[in-house]
């Protein structure tokens, strides 16, 4: 409104409205409240060992959710991520079982992931097919391919490299797995990419207003392609983390990886409509789900409450997003 003068450099914090504060503060608040409740109501919740557990239990979904966040930020969605990760575990597991070089096997599995990401990305960016449909299709294709490769079996992994991410070192009494370190590293990396590089800004712009992004000269198709490839790379890394956590490549694993990661992203305050959100919210969202699962077990409460509470959180998060967006219009 005002044409009034407010010139000059002013870096000061603007009074934040609820709409913009909730996506960042809300998930943290929920995590804090749940943690506080569990630390009062159970004896062991705050024990170093228990906290380290919660993080370990978050590593796979936490990593899948990074890719999911990037894709949702562009206004897309990925239903195939868990399936892609499982395929990578099976490929790596089977190759190593057949006496191939472990490092090369793992690398090959990750390359396959990237290849799938490339196909998904091409269909979405070049042909303009809806991400929901393309990734739904790939969910089926990849799951079938996994079962064909596994031939009804599972592959126990004994190799040190493949299961390395499950090893732990001691940090102030808590066991920290290398997988955790890898995951945190990925979060830092993606946080940097999203906030400090043009690529990240373009991701937001594409999800926020695709036409505007095109008109200001952002190579929208290439950006989308890069997002799907990068996300697939992350799914490959998630496979490595999964083998560290459970050293057994099992075609039946991670069937809910897609929905679990969408849940984490949404609870973390990222808008399903794209263009809004941040990666640390996703980590918080993942932790909220793990804290619930852990805390409810410690309290001896029926595990069905976990699904119930998670469901309510998802709906609340989306409702808040919707309300704050409506206000902006």
């Amino acid at each position: 409104m005002s044409v009034g003068t407010l010139p000059g450099p002013r870096r000061g914090v603007q009074p934040v409205s609820l709409g913009s504060a909730w996506p960042t503060l809300g998930p943290l608040l929920v995590l804090f409240v749940f943690s506080a409740v569990f630390s009062f109501s159970t004896r062991t919740f705050l024990a170093a060992g228990n906290l380290s557990l919660i993080v370990q239990q978050s590593v796979i979904v936490g990593t899948l959710s990074i890719g999911q966040t990037l894709i949702i930020l562009t206004g897309g969605i990925d239903l195939a991520n868990g399936a892609i990760t499982v395929l990578a575990t099976i490929v790596a597991g089977r190759l190593v079982n057949d006496q191939n070089n472990p490092a090369l096997s793992l690398l090959f599995a990750i390359v396959i992931c990237i290849f799938i990401g490339l196909l998904v990305g091409l269909l979405i960016s070049r042909l303009g097919l809806p991400p929901f449909i393309v990734t739904l299709g790939f969910l089926g294709i990849v799951t079938a391919a996994t079962r064909l490769i596994a031939q009804g079996g599972a592959f126990p992994v004994t190799d040190d490299l493949l299961s390395w991410t499950g090893n732990a070192f001691n940090l102030g009494g808590a066991a920290v797995t290398y997988g955790t370190v890898v995951m945190i590293g990925l979060y830092l990396l993606v946080s940097y990419l999203l906030t400090q590089t043009a690529w990240g800004r373009h991701i937001y712009a594409i999800g926020n207003n695709r036409e505007a992004a095109r008109l200001v000269g952002i190579p929208v198709q290439n950006r989308l392609l890069s997002v799907y490839c990068f996300a697939a790379l992350l799914y490959g890394v998630a496979a490595w983390l999964a083998l560290g956590r459970i050293p057994n490549a099992d075609p039946n694993a991670l069937q809910n990886g897609n929905l679990d990661s969408i849940t984490a992203v949404v609870i973390g305050g990222t808008s399903l409509f794209g263009g809004r959100g941040n990666i640390w919210g996703t980590l918080t969202g993942t932790l909220i789900v793990s804290v619930l699962r852990n805390g409810l077990t410690l309290s001896g409460i029926d595990p069905l409450w976990q699904d119930l509470v998670t469901g309510i959180l998802v709906i609340s998060a989306v409702a808040l997003d919707q309300i704050s967006r409506r206000k902006q219009r």
Partner: protein, 358 residues
Amino acid sequence: MHPPLLTHNGVSLSTNLFTQQAKCCSKRFLGIRNKNKGLLLAPLFLAALIGMCSQARAADQTIIGLVTKTEVNPYFVKLRQAATAEAEKHGAKLIPRFGKFDGDNEGQVAAIENLISAGAKGILITPNNSTGVLGAVKKARDKGILVIALDTATDPLDAVDATLATDNFEAGVKQGEYARKTLGNKTPKLAMLDGTPGGTVDTLRHNGFLKGFGIKEGDPAIVGKQITHGAQDEGQTAMENLLSAHPDINVVYTINEPAAEGAYAAIKAAGKTNDIVLTSIDGGRLGVEYVKGGKIAATVMQFPKIMATRGVDYVVDYAKDGKKPTGFINTGSQLITDKPFPDLPSKDTKWGLENCWG
């Protein structure tokens, strides 16, 4: 809900915390406008709810964890109910957990880890995949927790302290023998409706059936095999397809009774109920009723309640005197049919309905 043990600080503390939070959040921290208040506070209310539900336990109460494959399968529901009742009888506390789908190793591992954290004395588990959860089981055992596999054995068997299970191979043999006898001297045309490929139980039942039936894998008498995941809809589809490919099928193996129910629908639609011997295994109430109603010729009953109650008893004993059970403990199986053969020990459906698990 669990019986309240109202001797704790948990509730009052967490409720306090909740009210403080709510006040500070709603007024200053977020500067909420009225419209949104309800939504924002929803998680807080939930947290309070959890705070009130959770109970600080008496320090010496024995905690027993139960980790099943899924919650949807009524078999596991019965297992859990029996275990909960038995635990209550002994003044112990049973914490049930489950995977989200058949094969959810990650879910089972997390459940075991969290139960260790919760201070469980013993963990009863129906392991998903025989090798998938062994790492977590080892962690638990290293901590001195008694781990007993229920229903499904681990591979190797001694990855757990003891296994309480149906000898599924033996059960399969009973099913196969009965099928063969009923067929008489007709040339067998066998259709096999399997569960999940590679599953331990599936393999044992499948192979046991073939042994009892008196043929080997690859025998030309086997005209078709299909995967049903033990589900009725998939069982029906599989049977429909098999029947259209091989209309001369005269005997059917099913992995469980839901699959058999599906197969029956397909057989009935094809008008072949009198030409085909349909057999199953499991022994749920519905299964016994199918036998009684003539849908299934016979089923082989297993006894999950015994697994559950014995498992709980072992943990309670272990907590008292440190005595651990070992090895494979067969909880038995029983052929149920109303058309018995004198040389095959069986019980009728009346007995079956009295003794079935659900």
